[in-house]
């Protein structure tokens, strides 16, 4: 694959989440589909504004948790009933109340690990390179106090001059071109 060249997109910088959400909502309404928001902390309304409603992390977490539950419960049952049966206070070898606590712990452990790794697998991290870091204002502000909206060049509506004018209509602090 040849190296990608040219414009990645246009990046508008805002001072407040309110302005970003307003702009993102309007852009989505106006038919933009290849666009993304970048904020220093999670702004759920921004995600909703660009049509990003749900992801699969909760499902991955649930499945992981259930796997942990079943795995540990079966492991305990196998050990206590078949592999190494012990007489503990005259109780039956299959004493399920005693199995609950480790099974619960494994539910938490598997759910937690599934959430963390599922999130990484689904969001494409770790990424070694992202074109937006070519923009100095993004490097400085995206993780501190600035809010960004990026219209990507892949969008069929994208025309450099038009898109720039369009973004400026939201009165951002700045609009910069970002190269690949």
């Amino acid at each position: 694959m040849p190296p990608r060249e040219g414009i990645y997109g246009l990046l508008a910088e805002f001072d407040t989440p309110g302005e970003l959400v307003r702009a993102a909502r309007q852009a989505r309404l106006d038919g933009w589909r290849r666009l993304d928001c970048y904020t220093p902390y999670p702004v759920e309304e921004a995600a909703e504004a660009i049509g990003f409603h749900r992801n699969k992390v909760p499902l991955v977490t649930l499945v992981g948790g259930l796997m942990g539950l079943v795995a540990m419960f079966l492991l305990e049952t196998w050990i206590s009933v078949w592999a190494f049966p012990l007489n503990i206070g005259g109780r039956p070898t299959y004493s399920w109340p005693a199995f609950i606590v480790p099974a619960f712990e494994w539910t938490i452990l598997f759910a937690g690990l599934s959430a963390a790794f599922g999130m990484l697998a689904l969001n494409g991290l770790p990424a070694l390179y992202h074109p937006l870091f070519n923009a100095p204002n993004f490097r400085d502000g995206a993780t501190t106090d600035k809010f960004f909206l990026c219209l990507e060049a892949l969008d069929p509506k994208f025309d450099l001059a038009e898109a720039k004018k369009y973004l400026e209509s939201f009165q951002p602090v700045s609009v910069v071109e970002v190269e690949y």
């Binding site: 001072d15 407040t16 989440p17 309110g18 302005e19 959400v21 902390y41 999670p42 702004v43 759920e44 309304e45 921004a46 909760p58 649930l62 206070g89 109780r91 109340p97 005693a98 609950i100 606590v101």
Partner: protein, 431 residues
């Protein structure tokens, strides 16, 4: 600074009229008619046995109603103190409904008086005067005879009455103090806000410790002592968490139902609703954690002093009830509240909360009824047992009516609080 100026454009304004909307009158009327209907049913059920009036089950069910409404009144007071200590916009939202719950204490006291006057009918330790004679006649067994004689200094009618009265006095003091200061705070200027935040915190912090102790004492006397032979050191905590469970469920129902009209229409944001849902979920989890911990420890120990309490509640078809209790009280709220969408959906969240209050009453039935000789290890139908549905429903309905009366007495939001400005802002500002 420029940033602030920008955001204010989007902020909503606090409605001019902050009193309870007219729909609360509708709740009040409905609660009164439901209360009246269930009172008639409860009275009728007493006669259905065909052996004269059966006051036994009526009183047991009355005790359930007392514990349930007590949970809302005193649990409401506890959550009121908790939110003064933690802060947070959810606390501002619930403050006035929680204050109204705490002010229903007189009604709970009236309910308690009936129990205090019927000690001999409800509590074995009160009914048995001469332990030796009772043992010889076969009324009580050796274990019960020993426990009743040994615990006599604690389990006697005078101690029951005085400890309960002391608890009621302490809860009344905190209710009065926090409610009175709540109004005074609103009348004061905005400059005084930091003083009031500290002041409420300083009362509530120690208040929560006092609440935990007095509530534990009350439930030990009222519920745990129904079986004089048994004890559990986590009992108070179990009820404490149970009160958080039921109070949060009711508070969500109230807040969401109030949001059909002003001022809660403006005040209730999805963020805070979601937060309340998450907090409720935490209590659902903690609840089963403690309940199961108590069971696991007693099951592991398998001691003759402790295990009969569970056997009374598992054998003789009670196994069906305890399985349903596990499903109703934990599994259903737990699995449903896991969903983020559900917690953000007003209608569905309210349905789950209504279910939780029913489940709480169901759990209390499982806790209370097997204490009695005719029911232990022997779940069987009688018309009397239906009182467990009718009496608490009537008592709860009258409690709701009284709560509505209290809710109408003051504005629904405390205005002298910095959270008011925050809660009026769009959700993304403080997301």
């Amino acid at each position: 600074m420029n940033e602030m100026a920008h955001e204010r454009h989007d902020a909503k304004t606090l409605p001019a009229e902050l009193g309870a909307p007219a729909l609360v009158d509708g709740w009040l009327r409905r609660a009164l008619s439901i209360g009246a209907a269930f009172s008639v049913i409860a009275a009728g059920l007493g006669f259905l046995d065909g052996r004269g009036f059966d006051a036994d089950h009526l009183l047991r069910a009355w005790l359930l109603g007392l514990v349930l409404t007590f949970g809302f009144a005193v649990g409401g007071l506890a959550l009121l103190m908790l939110q003064y200590c933690t802060g947070g916009k959810w606390g501002l939202l619930l403050r006035r409904p929680l204050e109204a719950m705490s002010r229903t204490l007189p009604l709970v006291f009236a309910y308690w008086v009936v129990v205090a006057l019927s000690l001999r009918k409800l509590y074995l330790w009160a009914a048995v005067g001469d332990v030796k004679a009772a043992l010889q006649s076969g009324w009580i067994n050796e274990v019960q005879a020993h426990a009743i004689a040994f615990k006599r200094p604690m389990l006697n009618p005078a101690a029951f009455t005085w400890v309960s009265l002391l608890c009621f006095a302490i809860w009344s003091f905190y209710t009065w103090r926090l409610n009175a200061l709540g109004l005074k705070r609103d009348a004061d200027s905005a400059a005084s806000t930091p003083f009031w935040i500290k002041k409420m915190e300083n009362i509530s912090g120690p208040g929560m410790v006092v609440y935990a102790l007095t509530m534990t004492a009350a439930v030990i006397y009222w519920v745990m002592s129904l079986d004089p032979t048994w004890y559990s050191s986590v009992y108070g905590l179990l009820f404490l968490v149970g009160q958080g469970y039921q109070v949060l469920a009711l508070a969500i129902i109230v807040a969401v139902s109030l949001s059909k009209d002003e001022p809660f229409k403006t005040l209730l944001r999805q963020t805070e609703q979601h937060d309340l849902g998450k907090l409720t979920f935490a209590f659902v989890m903690l609840n089963i954690y403690l309940a199961f911990a108590q069971f696991l420890i007693i099951w592991s120990g398998n001691l003759p002093e402790e295990i009969p309490w569970y056997l009374d509640r598992i054998l003789g078809r009670w196994g069906v009830i305890v399985t349903l209790d596990f499903i109703f009280y934990w599994l259903i709220p737990f699995t449903l509240l896991l969903s983020r969408d559900l917690k953000r959906n007003k209608k569905r969240l309210v349905r789950v909360c209504q279910w939780m209050i029913f489940a709480k009453a169901f759990d209390l039935f499982w806790l209370i009824e097997p204490n009695f000789k005719d029911a232990a290890r022997n779940l069987h139908f009688s018309w009397g047992i239906m009182e467990y549905a009718a009496v608490p429903a009537a008592m709860m309905a009258f409690w709701v009516a009284y709560f509505c009366v209290q809710l109408k007495t003051r504005p629904l939001v405390q205005t002298n609080d910095p959270h008011v400005a925050e809660i009026l802002e769009p959700e993304h500002v403080s997301a």
